[in-house]
Symmetry: C2
Subunit: 273 residues, 2 copies
């Protein structure tokens, strides 16, 4: 637990935030930024290297050279097409090991990537395991609570999100008055919320429901919300946001709750069926 923490970094502020938390706790970190995904500005303050996703040989070599034993995969990654992957020699071997899982949707691919890292001798951990307080705790997180209409929409949204997750489509759904206004696929939650602003109808406001996929690998690709999610939900005229307790990352927890309180939105974390 006290060796160098490796952070394989996709996009967004989360990798640097994790690096800061690890460093603050006295643990050495090494950030392996994924080229074209990682925010080079925010990881520049930490020991780091930048490699293409396909350059598996260089990635593994850099992690080993940095003395990494535990690894976290964190940040957004737009899944590369096989044509743009351009694997190096090691990457080609790994692709062969992954085999069909590389084509079997995000879940299968991530599970396979984690397995490869572990076979290569790294212990892969969830970001929420190495950063206390990162995962959302259960309960009403702000000042506002869902009313009966919102509770019904949460139930409907959680059901649809489970089905979507099982089909490896996405993690977020917007429901108003029992009607699914929008469903997230690769466009992301912000884009989903943006279009729902013009799809809502009169009457009781809708809800955003975000949950992990059934059988979700808890060490990668957990749903994440932040201040921007709250702002998008408010702009879409929603009543609030329901997330999955323990399986949703809230890297800006205080600011996110404060934003929900200020916007009059509820923010609730549930254990979904």
């Amino acid at each position: 637990m006290t060796g160098t923490l490796g952070i394989v970094a996709g996009g967004g502020p989360l990798p640097a935030r994790l690096a800061a938390a690890a460093r603050a706790s006295g643990r050495p970190v090494f950030v392996l930024g994924l080229e074209g995904h990682a925010d080079t500005a925010t990881i520049a303050g930490y020991p780091h290297a930048l490699h293409r996703i396909g350059a598996a040989g260089q990635i593994l070599g850099a992690l080993r050279q940095a003395g990494v034993d535990e690894l976290v995969l964190i940040g957004t990654v737009r899944r590369p097409s096989l044509l743009t992957l351009m694997p190096d020699a090691e990457g080609a071997k790994i692709l062969a090991r992954i085999g069909r899982a590389a084509f079997a949707g995000d879940d299968g691919l991530l599970a396979a990537v984690i397995r490869v890292f572990e076979e290569e001798g790294f212990r892969v951990r969830g970001a929420q395991e190495v950063m206390t307080g990162l995962a959302a705790p259960e309960g009403v997180l702000g000042r506002h609570a869902p009313d009966a209409a919102a509770e019904a929409d949460i139930v409907r949204g959680a059901t649809v999100a489970r089905i979507l997750g099982a089909a490896d489509v996405g993690q977020a759904v917007v429901v108003q008055q029992g009607i699914v206004l929008g469903v997230e696929a690769v466009e992301g939650t912000d884009a989903l919320l943006a279009r729902c602003a013009s799809l809502r109808r009169e009457g009781p406001a809708g809800v955003l429901v975000k949950r992990a996929k059934p059988g979700q690998e808890a060490r990668a690709d957990l749903p994440t919300i932040g201040v921007r999610t709250v702002e998008g939900a408010a702009a879409a005229g929603l009543a609030g946001i329901a997330i999955e307790a323990g399986m949703t990352l809230m890297p800006e927890r205080e600011a996110t709750i404060a934003a929900a309180d200020a916007a009059g939105l509820f923010l609730v974390a549930r254990r979904f069926d």
Copy 2:
């Protein structure tokens, strides 16, 4: 079969097209336009009346007075919220008869509306039953056929669309290289295609798959495609469109096929599992 055909008209060109086809076949028609939905310009050339969805008493009265025996429900209807429905006395009674189905998603609501019309003495028919050639026949409909990559995406899209339909979410899905780029909810297929233009990735182009919901009521709300769908698919960089044979309406069949041919898109109608 020779009495007056009643057309309960939502939005779009389909109601007027159906009216024209019925008149051309020598059958008298009466168009009951739904206020705020029906295109009043295109139905003006036919005997018609215009009523709010909630005004069930007036709707039933107008249909009876016009001597309607067979009814078709056709055209797009944005589901009203209960607050904007403002039922008249008859409408309130019907709402009570429909009961929970009114809140149970589009499928339940439509089935209940059809049941009410039938209980009131009308025979409700599918548009494709009264207008020959309206439903898409099985097979490759244009000059282009899907390749192996597209076939794999069609299979994935048909599976996801079945799941979405079963959850009463939507009828259309865009898939590229096995990845679900976008899923239709209430925004409609045109909006789905518009956003997929910026979500596609390099390599083999994706497909639009549109299918009826499992157990779909064939007398209402069948998926529909037209020239605009082909234009949207072409603008989104897709390789083609797969629809459900017999259960998808193609009101502009020749023009739609011609547009697909001209754009280099395949257009195929399948019997999905």
